[in-house]
């Protein structure tokens, strides 16, 4: 019955992952993809919470939302600082640390 919701959540998660991996453009898209992954995860939690009727997963979801907000705030701060130094936020140019 909740199968469709789970499929949607997993598809969202995969989309987010592909957004990180295939993205050659701006860092902002990468941050947005991370947000998408986190949202998909929260969605899965909520679905599971309904399915097995346990409240703790909703608490987890709220905490994930908090962490996601904090993460995007710090991420954007890093991004801004990086932009000040480098003058661009293209992911391709982010290759100073080669192995």
């Amino acid at each position: 019955m909740y199968y469709k919701y789970i499929v949607v959540a997993i598809l969202l998660l995969l989309l987010g992952v592909l957004g990180i991996v295939l993205n050659r453009g701006h860092l902002i898209i990468m941050l947005m993809s991370i947000e998408l992954i986190l949202l998909a995860a929260s969605f899965l939690f909520l679905i599971n919470s309904i399915v097995i009727d346990i409240l703790i997963e909703q608490i987890f979801t709220i905490m994930i939302l908090t962490v996601a907000a904090a993460e995007s705030a710090i991420g954007l701060a890093i991004l801004v600082a990086y932009y000040r130094i480098k003058g661009t936020i293209a992911v391709k140019s982010l290759n100073w640390l080669r192995g």
């Binding site: 992952v17 990180i20 991996v21 990468m30 982010l94 080669r98 192995g99």
Partner: protein, 620 residues
């Protein structure tokens, strides 16, 4: 007293070697000669006691190799053979020492030279007095080492260096034979002492399967003798050893080095007697050596090389005598040969000394006027070498020829040695004619200053000349008594043959060079030129060995073992290959870390997927 005969030369060598700067050139000469005279007098006494009074003496010194299976002592054995060898070695060596003080006078390294000479004598005495094979081997290697040092005495000359290395290496080939023989003897007899081995030789040879082993042992021993005594195949080092000073040649060729091989055969006589096949091979190789080196001696132009090839030839006679089981005759010829060969070499040294270090016979001649004494000495030595009746060589050389005829199944060996007697006479007279009688070819200033040496140059010659005349006659009864030797009953014509041949060779040489010298200078056909070149270059033995053996071994060493194996395969699978591969691998791995964030994300993703599937998969 018995020990002193060994220790005196060692003392001389050590003193002259280590304190040569203290005692000076003259002091070194006097001291080493004095030590040798001491050794000579003791060895005469030993000869009297052990041989004439027939009291063989054994001295056990101390344990050397001590294990369950093999116990070897340092031990000395003085029997007739050892005593005879001692007389030969110490007397020749003493005279060579005295001669060297005159011949090498003015050489800045005289103490070193005398030290080496004494050390040589010491090792030779150690060789002949040992009572087991390993101790004999010490002396064996020691004389090899000393021959290296002495041939290389003028160590700034590249030719001397090459000759010394050649002598050392060719000798090593034979030494391997001796080592293998020792292993085989140990396996077969369980002991390396002469007394144990020789007393059980007959019993062991009786065994059902061991006859072949004895033959093998004897062949290995013979390989050792071939190397040391310069028989066919390994003889090439001996003519090259002429690069050393003349007294060294006298010592190496007359008394010490080359006689060691024959001594080994004589010493191992009880073993050889059990191996008829080995004896046959010994005879064949010896007779071929005698003939082949005599033909080379015909055309050599270097004064010393002629005598060197005659040494090879005479060693062939000794080996033949061993091969036909007449060991005491072989020893007899060894002793006589030592005297007249030392005389010939020292006379050649005197000639070279008189002519300001000229060795080429083509640049000599006419010395009979200026150095009649040396001429006389050379004549005595050569006549003795040719086996002229009633001189020393006659008593042993003709006997060997007769005994060889007696072995009817080896007729070919007999004819080879008889013909080499003819050739011996030819080249001896050729040497004397070109050096002393022919018109001179030397420079005027050299010829004007040709002179006899001082007393210490001539005294050894006089003593050796006396030896060359009388030793054979005086000692023949003694030496024949070592082993029952009956002169064979053979036709009178065969008995006379060697003397006739010798006289024929001598006369033809004299006539050819004196009356029809033009026979040598007529325009020659290519065939005779080629044969002359063939003989002059010693049957191309050096070329054959260098071209087919040494060059290939060098190639093998460089291309195969060095470049292909050591620097090739082993490097690839070994240190260099592994380190290269590791560097490549780590480079590849660290290239994964491209610095691009999305690649990291992909790697993390794949890693996480693998991890999850790895942890989840087993449970399905």
């Amino acid at each position: 007293m018995y020990l002193l005969v060994i220790l005196a030369p060692l003392m001389g060598a050590l003193t002259s070697g280590f304190f040569g700067r203290k005692i000076g050139e003259k002091g070194a000469g006097i001291f080493t000669s004095g030590c040798l005279i001491l050794s000579l007098s003791w060895s005469t006494l030993i000869f009297y006691e052990t041989t004439l009074n027939s009291s063989t003496t054994y001295i056990k010194l101390w344990r050397w190799l001590d294990s369950d299976l093999l116990t070897t002592y340092f031990g000395l054995q003085f029997d007739s053979l050892t005593a005879t060898m001692l007389i030969v070695v110490t007397s020749i060596s003493t005279l060579v020492h005295i001669f060297s003080t005159a011949y090498m006078d003015g050489d800045p390294h005289l103490p070193r030279f005398m030290s080496y000479l004494s050390l040589f004598t010491f090792f030779m005495i150690l060789l002949v007095t040992s009572d087991n094979y390993p101790q004999l081997f010490i002396g064996w290697e020691g004389v090899g080492l000393c021959s290296y040092l002495l041939i290389n005495f003028w160590l700034t000359r590249i030719e001397a260096n090459k000759a010394a290395i050649k002598a050392m290496l060719v000798n090593r080939v034979g030494d391997i034979g001796l080592v293998l023989a020792m292993f085989a003897i140990w396996e077969e007899f369980g002991s390396l002492d002469f007394s144990s081995v020789f007393n059980t030789a007959a019993v062991v040879a009786e065994g059902p399967s061991t006859g072949g082993h004895i033959t093998l042992i004897c062949l290995f021993l013979f390989i050792g003798a071939v190397g040391k005594s310069a028989q066919l195949g390994l003889h090439t080092w001996l003519p090259d050893a002429m690069e050393g000073p003349t007294p060294v040649s006298a010592l190496i060729h007359a008394a010490t080095m080359v006689t060691a091989g024959v001594f080994l055969l004589i010493r191992s006589a009880p073993l050889l007697e059990q191996a008829p096949l080995a004896l046959m091979i010994v005879t064949i190789v010896g007779s071929m050596t005698a003939f082949f080196t005599a033909t080379i001696g015909l055309v050599q132009n270097d004064l010393k090389k002629v005598i060197a090839y005659s040494t090879c030839s005479q060693l062939g006679y000794m080996v033949v005598a061993c091969g036909i089981s007449h060991y005491s005759i072989s020893l007899f010829h060894l002793m006589n040969h030592a005297f007249f060969k030392a005389l010939l070499f020292l006379s050649a040294g005197s000639v070279i000394h008189a002519l300001a270090d000229e060795q080429d016979m083509r640049k000599m001649g006419g010395l009979i006027k200026s150095t009649p004494f040396t001429y006389t000495m050379m004549i005595i030595g050569s006549l003795s070498l040719m086996g002229f009746p009633y001189l020393t060589g006659f008593y042993s050389k003709d006997l060997i020829l007769e005994l060889a005829y007696d072995q009817y199944y080896l007729a070919f060996a007999h004819w080879l040695v008889v013909f080499s007697a003819l050739l011996t006479a030819f080249y001896s007279i050729r040497l004397i004619y070109l050096t002393f009688i022919a018109n001179t070819n030397s420079k005027k200033e050299v010829f004007m200053h040709a002179h006899e040496g001082s007393w210490n140059l001539t005294l050894p010659l006089i003593l050796l000349a006396l030896g060359s005349i009388f030793v054979g006659y005086l000692t023949k009864e003694v030496l024949w008594s070592f082993q029952a030797t009956l002169p064979p009953i053979i036709p009178i014509s065969i008995k006379l043959l060697p003397v006739i041949f010798s006289l024929l060779g001598a006369t033809s040489a004299f006539v050819l060079y004196h009356c029809s010298a033009r026979a040598f200078s007529v325009p020659t056909s290519p065939i005779s030129l080629a044969s002359y070149a063939f003989l002059y270059s010693a049957w191309q033995f050096n070329y054959i060995i260098n071209y087919f053996l040494v060059r290939n071994v060098w190639k093998l060493g460089h291309l195969m073992t060095y470049r292909t194996l050591d620097k090739g395969v082993l490097e690839l699978v070994g240190p260099k290959g592994i380190s290269d591969r590791m560097v490549q691998l780590t480079q590849g791995i660290s290239n994964l870390q491209s610095g691009l964030v999305f690649n990291y994300a992909l790697i993390i993703l794949i890693g996480a997927a693998i991890f999850i599937s790895g942890t989840v998969w087993p449970f399905y």
